[in-house]
Structure formats: structure tokens, C-alpha cells
Symmetry: C2
Subunit: 502 residues, 2 copies
């Protein structure tokens, strides 16, 4: 047995405990913290972050890795995979010189603060003053990671969120989608225009009833409230730790559906966390595989399973019961499963990514992907973002945003220094479709089960194929082992055709 | 300027950030965490604790202290006080050998777990099997601290909660109380027996209404909800950090008063935390002075200010309004200020410390203080606790508990390894009385202000005399500066005589 390997496990366990503490503190910030707690909380989180960085930067680490890797033959397969994951994280963490880490962190915090003011007022110039210097540092970060990891600069950034994904592959997948989607979207809109619009259930839908409905649905799907909570925050998210998963949503008393769908989405994330192998808690190999795999689990639950006609057969009566004060003929028609399903798969090109349906969502991502590549290569400067955005929105969706708030200022990612993350959303959608297609082939009567709210067979399949595998394999290996095929857009396209034109 | 001193400030700031993170995680555990999160949370808290211990145990610390102390003349008074506080904490932290720290921590966790089972079933033998070995370690801890601090063993334990308090002083104070209280209690009970019993308002008192009432009262007292929250937990407590104070209570729908009084008590703690000087956040000198001072702030608010006849003139109508469904002649009589006040100062000797009124509370503490001294000196062994308890309860309150659950198993303190803490409760009550007497002399029309719910003058006085002083002075200096006299039981006795026999 390699004592060096075990020493590494111990060090990574410390970092995981600190990361877990930080995750709960971040949930607290978003869900319950009073505004006046921000400065103290920020100091706590910075301290936890700093200690994790110090653990990674400890000069003894290089030797521990070298010695542990020299005795790989003594390790079990999961340990071997763990060692590789540790090494990759260590490479990422140590790729940047300390002064760049600090400068980047300050510039990103500053830009994010400016963005919070600049977005509502659609003030691109204010934003750009903070973003231009941040972009310089993002490029430096990309160069530094490129050198340390032997990857192209933008690939090196993507690798921080989605290890193993490269532009060479994503270019091909997005080209495929880019060819397919415009014509497909036109057909969907044409078909949709020929049909009567779905009836919108009219509220008010009291928050307490929405919350109870969401908890009921979460319970049916398999969320264990002894190991997690549902709360409220400005933006829905899934946080906490695998033993105690905290998901959030927001409520609008005039529209229950958007909150419920957000809950189903976050429940998909939560079940992934809950299904990670207990034996590898606190170790890199025991964590979720990647951002795209994580997104695949939320989108599989929300888009594949719960926006299906089958799901609404099960859920529509629960939804109507949740708002029993609405007992009228109009309510009965609006809450008919078929009507709610049509609402859930309504397609409408728009400016805002987070509001987009699954047909137009990839266009939002492909636009951002193109701009990110250009920003990192230096072909696109910060001040030229608005023009490039307008042009791209025209090309991808035929729309021209009225202002920057619904244009290039809509997302927090770039303001916070996150370039390289966006592709994960659409990769996640493709993985979700490919996994769900496999699950549907392999599980007898899956549609009938979903129509009865029986999620156990699907959850068992995902648990075996994805959740319990954690980071044992690369994303690509995991997908191929689970579905028998390498990742492609085929299943996603087939899903769209079946759902929207079938 | 001493760079060594500033290096120490930086190191203590890190520990404070970790301590603040832990405080929020502990609040989360008690108030919102699902049961399944316990193991992961425990690992996070242990990690944070361990890192703080490592900071304290860093061999460079001794040199930093020596050098900083050699240049004390360069420091401002607050810095000097800070340096002394740092040194004292460091002495406490390093007094114990690492193997004793670990053995103690394990034995205390184990004993606390046993206690949680043993108390409900009143199983002293089960408890004793875990407590006897823990007591051996507590004695070792006391000896080790004694050697490191140059104090008697029990004094060294007390010093960990209440720096500067010694048995020599406490013996005298408790002897004074012990002489006064039995005869006084008899007089109070006799007087009380001659009067009709107060009317109990009859519920139910819905939780939502109780919560709203508590928040209203907290707001009047000066609690700032931008910097804190009120939540629920099994036992009321005050946690979080000064910028974000989290207090909790519990609700009983058949009795609103106990929850409200707990909230007023915790609000006193919270206002102390909130009033600590911003300039010294994250430094030992900027923290609350001691456990007894902290308890003085909660008891001043609850016992001195809010169990007064004046307070009920203000609060009774709000209490009645909170439960407006109870609008009847009987409710009107029960919610009369005079009646609610009489309920709030009803005296009844009982077995349970946490349910005790302010007249009988000191007896519970004096009993525990006597037993703690005997346990640390070795005169009392673990297995002899029940007999000693029975004997003491007879002597102090003339009561014989029916079982150990309402006897020596009622408190968590000893089970968790905390010996030396109990005196703080009664010291806090005496300090509260002495401070409130001074405030009453110095603030024109304080009773009239309280009768109108105007707490600002009292809060300003406490802010200046106590909160803003943090740990700038010793407890004894602080009390004398604030009240003009050294600590004694005089003000407490005068308060009791005025309230109960006046």
C-alpha cells in the first residue's frame, strides 16, 4: 500500500471538508442570510478558499504525487482513478502564479459587483470598464493553464469545468446542431401556429401550496428529505453536500409551473449528488464527473422525464389538487394533462437564455461559445461584445435585443470571470437525451412507469450507469459505457423530432 | 509598529473566520439541517476545529508572542489588551498535550451520546460508565491547565469560560447568597400564597402568531433583522457572528410566554454581539468579555427589563393583539398587564434548572458548583453523584427528585465535558442586577421609557458601558467601570427584595 497515496487522500479529505463547509455557507448566503451578513460571510468563504489553495500549493504535494504515481500498481482501480483526479486538480490549482490568482479574484469580484448594477440599467460602458481588465486576466489565466496542462488556451479553461472536453469535439457537435436546428425550429413554430394556444391556468397560486406541491413531486421522484431541503433563493440552484443536498427555487404566485419545473430540474442535480458512492466521499474520484454530466442529470429529469406527456398524466391531478380553491370548469380544462404538457413544451425564441425552451436553448449557447473563443483568441475585444452579440442573435435566432440587459449583460458568468462554462449546458442536454434514450430501451415500460409517478426504475438505472460511477471514468468513457455509443447530437435531435414534430 | 503583533492579528483573524464559519454551521445544524447531514457536518466542524488548533500549536507562535510582548510600548491600549487576550487563549489552547486533547474530545462526544439516551430513561448506570472515564480526563485537563496557567485546577477550568474568576471570590459571593436566599424564598412563597394565583391565558397560540409577536418585540428592543434572524431549535440559543446574529426559540402552542421570554433572553445575547466594536472584529479583544458577562446581557434584558411591571404595560396589549382570536372577557383579564407580570415573576421551587425562576435559580447553580469542586478535587467520584445530588437538592431547595432525569442527568454540560461553566449563570445574574441598577440611576426615566417600549436609552447605556468595551478590560474592571463598585450580590438581593417583597 502506498502511504504517499493515503497521505494524499487525507489532504484531499481536508479540502473536501472545507469545500463542504463552504457549500453550506453559500447556500445559507443565498437562502437565509440577512443582507448585513455579507461582509463577514465573504471573509469566511475567502478564508476557506485560501486554506484549500494553501493545501494545494504545499511544496510537499509534488513529491507525494510523484511517489504515489510510481507505485500505481499497488493501487485498486478506484484509487488509481482517484490519484489521476487529484493530480488533475492539483495541476489546475497550481497552474496560476499566486499574484495572478489574487489579481483575478479581485477583478472578478469587482466586475461582478459592477455587473449587478449595470445589468438593470443596461449600462454596457460601466460594465466594460470592469470587464476589459478582467478579460485581460482571463486570457492570462488561459495562457497559464494552457502551458501547465498542454492544452490550447480555451480548451484549458473548458477543462476546469468539463475535464476532457475540447473545442475540436464541441465544434463538430455544435456544427451538427447548427445545421439541424434552424430548419427544425421553423417547422416547430409552423406546426405550433396551426394549433390553438394552450390554456394558462390562472392563479393566484399561493406560495405555501406551490411549496407543498413541489415537495410532493420531489418525494415521488426519490428526493430524501432526511438528506436534503427545499428552500427559496433569487435563482434556483442545487448546493450543500451529498449527505445534505440543498435545492432552492423561487415562487411567482401568478405562475406555478416555472417554479415547479425549476424544482424538478434541481431535483435531478440533487439525485446525482445523493447517488455518489459513499465509499468515496471526500475524494475527487467520488465527486460528480463534470459540469456537463451534472447538467445532464438535471435536464434528464426536467426535460426528458418531466416535460413528457407521461409525466403530466401523473402530475396534472396533483397540480390541480394543490390549488384546490381553483375548482371550476376553466381550471379543469387548464389542468388537463394534455394542456399542461403542451404548456411545458411550448417553443418561443427569446432573448433570455435561462427562460429558453429546449429547442432554442442551444442557439444561446452556440452564440456564447463563439464569442468566448473569439475573446480568448484575442479576435474579440470587450468593447466589441455588443455588436458581436447583436450579430450572433440575428444569425442564430433572428432576434435583435432592445438593450444590453437582454443582450450581452444578461448572464453572470463572464462578469464573474467564468469563461469556458457555457458549453456544458448544451453538452448536458445532449448527454441527457442520449442517456434517456438508453434508459428507455433498457427499462421495460418506462413511459408507463412515469405516467404513474414511478421513478424508481429510472433512478436505479441512473444510479448504476451514472451516479454511482462518480469520477471513476472520464465523461466520454462514462457516456459510452452507459449508452453504448460515443457522445453525439443524434439522440437529442431524435428526441426533439419525436416530441415536437412526432 | 510591531510586525510580530500584526502577524499575530492576521493569524487570529484566520481563526476568527474559521470560528465564524463554524458558528453558522452549528446554527444550521440546530435550526435547519436534516438529520442525515449529521456525519458530514460533524466532519466539517472537526476539520475547522483542527485547523484552528493547528494555528495555535504552530511552533512559531511562541516567538511571535515573545517578540510582540517585548515591544508592547509601541502598541495602542486596545492592541495591548488584544495581545494579552491572544496570549491567554494561546496558553489555554496549548496547555493540553495533543493526546489528551484527542482523548478528551472522544470521551466527551461518547459521553454526550450516551447521555442523550440515558437521560430520558433516567439510567444513571449507563451514563456513569461513560462519565467516569471522562471525569478522569477532565481532572487531567484541569491539572494540565493548572500547571500551564499557574491556577488551582478548578480555577483553571473556570478561567476557560470566565477569565479572571476564581473560587476564592465565588465562594464568598455564593456564601452571601446562600445565607440570604433560603429565608427570602420562604418569605416570597408565603406572600405569594396569600395572593390569588395569576390567570393563565388559554390557547391555542398558533406558532405563526407567536413568531410574529416575538419579532415585533425584538424590533422594539433594537434587534436589527438586517443583521440577524429568529428561527426554531430544540433549545433556544444565540449563535452566528456579530454581523449576522442567529437566535432561536421553540414554540408550544399551549403556552406563548415561555417562548417569548426565551426570545427576549436571546435578544439580550444578540444585542451584546451586535454592539461589539467593528474596529476589532475578528480579534480576541473584540469579542464578548466572558460567559458571565454574556449571561448578564441576556438576563438583564429578560429578568431585569422584561419581567418588570413596566415592560408588561407596553407588551401586554401587543401580546393580546397577537392572538386576537382570543377576544373575550376571560382573555382580557388574563392579558391584563398586571396579570401577565405576576405570571412572569411567579416563584416555584422545582427540580429543573432551565425552568427555574430567578429566585431559585442560584440554588441550582450553587449545588452544581459544590459538586464540580468536589469532582475536580477528587472528593466526589462519578458513581457517588446521585447521592450527593439528592442531598444537595434537599439542602438547597428542600426537594427530592423522583429520578435521575430530573436530578443529576438533567444538564448536558458535564456529559459534554464542561465543568467550570455553571458559575457563569449566577455570576451573570448578579452582574445583570448590578448593571441594571446603575443604568436605572443614570438614565432619567428608564422605567417610564420601558413602559412605552422605548429601549433605546437602555441600549445606548449598555452599548457604551459593556458592548463596545468587548474584552478591552477584565470582567472585574469592566463591572467596576460600569457600575462604580466591585461585583457583589448586593444589587441582586436588592432587586429580589424590591420585586418580590416590595
Amino acid at each position: 500500500m502506498s502511504t504517499h497515496y493515503h497521505e494524499l487522500e487525507q489532504r484531499f479529505r481536508r479540502m473536501a471538508n472545507l469545500g463542504g463547509a463552504a457549500a453550506v455557507l453559500q447556500w445559507d448566503w443565498a437562502a437565509v442570510m440577512p443582507t448585513g451578513g455579507a461582509a463577514a460571510r465573504s471573509a469566511q468563504l475567502t478564508e476557506l478558499d485560501l486554506i484549500q489553495h494553501e493545501c494545494m500549493a504545499d511544496p510537499k504535494m509534488a513529491d507525494l504525487f510523484d511517489t504515489a504515481e510510481a507505485t500505481r500498481d499497488d493501487l485498486e482501480p478506484w484509487q488509481n482513478a482517484n490519484l489521476s483526479e487529484m493530480r488533475l486538480r492539483w495541476r489546475h490549482a497550481n497552474a496560476l502564479p499566486a499574484d495572478l490568482v489574487e489579481a483575478f479574484s479581485k477583478a472578478a469580484s469587482a466586475c461582478e459587483m459592477v455587473w449587478r448594477e449595470a445589468r438593470p440599467s443596461s449600462d454596457f460602458n460601466a460594465f466594460c470598464q470592469a470587464f476589459a481588465p478582467l478579460l485581460v486576466l482571463i486570457r492570462e489565466k488561459a495562457e497559464a493553464k494552457s502551458a501547465a496542462l498542454g492544452l490550447a488556451p480555451y480548451d484549458a479553461l473548458i477543462d476546469g469545468y468539463d475535464p476532457g472536453f475540447r473545442t475540436a469535439e464541441i465544434d463538430g457537435i455544435f456544427a451538427d446542431l447548427g445545421t439541424f436546428l434552424p430548419e427544425f425550429l421553423a417547422q416547430v413554430l409552423e406546426k405550433q401556429a396551426r394549433e390553438p394556444a394552450p390554456l394558462r391556468p390562472t392563479g393566484p397560486f399561493p406560495v405555501a401550496h406551490q411549496r407543498a406541491l413541489s415537495k410532493t413531486l420531489m418525494g415521488h421522484i426519490g428526493f430524501d428529505f432526511d438528506h436534503g431541503r427545499l428552500d427559496e433563493s433569487h435563482h434556483p440552484f442545487c448546493g450543500g453536500v451529498p449527505e445534505d443536498v440543498r435545492i432552492t427555487t423561487r415562487y411567482d404566485e401568478s405562475d406555478f409551473a416555472s417554479s415547479v419545473m425549476a424544482v424538478l430540474h434541481e431535483t435531478g442535480h440533487a439525485l446525482y449528488e445523493r447517488g455518489l458512492p459513499e465509499d468515496w466521499r471526500g475524494q475527487p474520484v467520488g465527486e460528480a464527473r463534470s459540469m456537463s454530466l451534472h447538467e445532464s442529470q438535471s435536464l434528464l429529469m426536467e426535460m426528458q422525464a418531466c416535460r413528457s406527456g407521461e409525466f403530466f398524466k401523473f402530475a396534472a391531478p396533483l397540480m390541480q389538487d394543490a390549488f384546490d380553491s381553483l375548482d371550476s370548469a376553466a381550471a379543469a380544462a387548464a389542468f388537463a394533462p394534455e394542456n399542461l404538457h403542451r404548456m411545458a413544451v411550448h417553443v418561443a425564441p427569446g432573448f433570455i437564455r435561462v427562460d429558453a425552451d429546449e429547442v432554442t436553448y442551444p442557439a444561446h449557447i452556440m452564440l456564447r461559445y463563439r464569442l468566448e473563443k473569439a475573446m480568448i483568441s484575442g479576435d474579440l475585444q470587450a468593447q466589441d461584445l455588443p455588436d458581436a452579440w447583436q450579430q450572433g442573435m440575428q444569425e442564430f435566432l433572428g432576434l435583435t435585443p432592445k438593450n444590453h440587459a437582454e443582450g450581452c449583460l444578461q448572464d453572470i458568468h463572464w462578469a464573474g470571470g467564468d469563461i469556458g462554462y457555457f458549453p456544458s449546458y448544451t453538452l448536458g442536454a445532449l448527454i441527457a437525451a442520449q442517456l434517456f434514450a438508453s434508459a428507455s430501451r433498457e427499462i421495460d415500460g418506462l413511459p408507463a412507469a412515469l405516467a404513474e409517478g414511478a421513478f424508481a426504475p429510472l433512478l436505479a438505472w441512473l444510479g448504476k450507469a451514472v451516479h454511482s460511477q462518480a469520477s471513476r471514468y472520464s465523461s466520454h468513457e462514462l457516456i459510452e459505457r452507459a449508452t453504448g455509443s460515443p457522445l453525439s447530437a443524434d439522440a437529442f435531435k431524435a428526441h426533439l423530432k419525436m416530441r415536437y414534430l412526432g
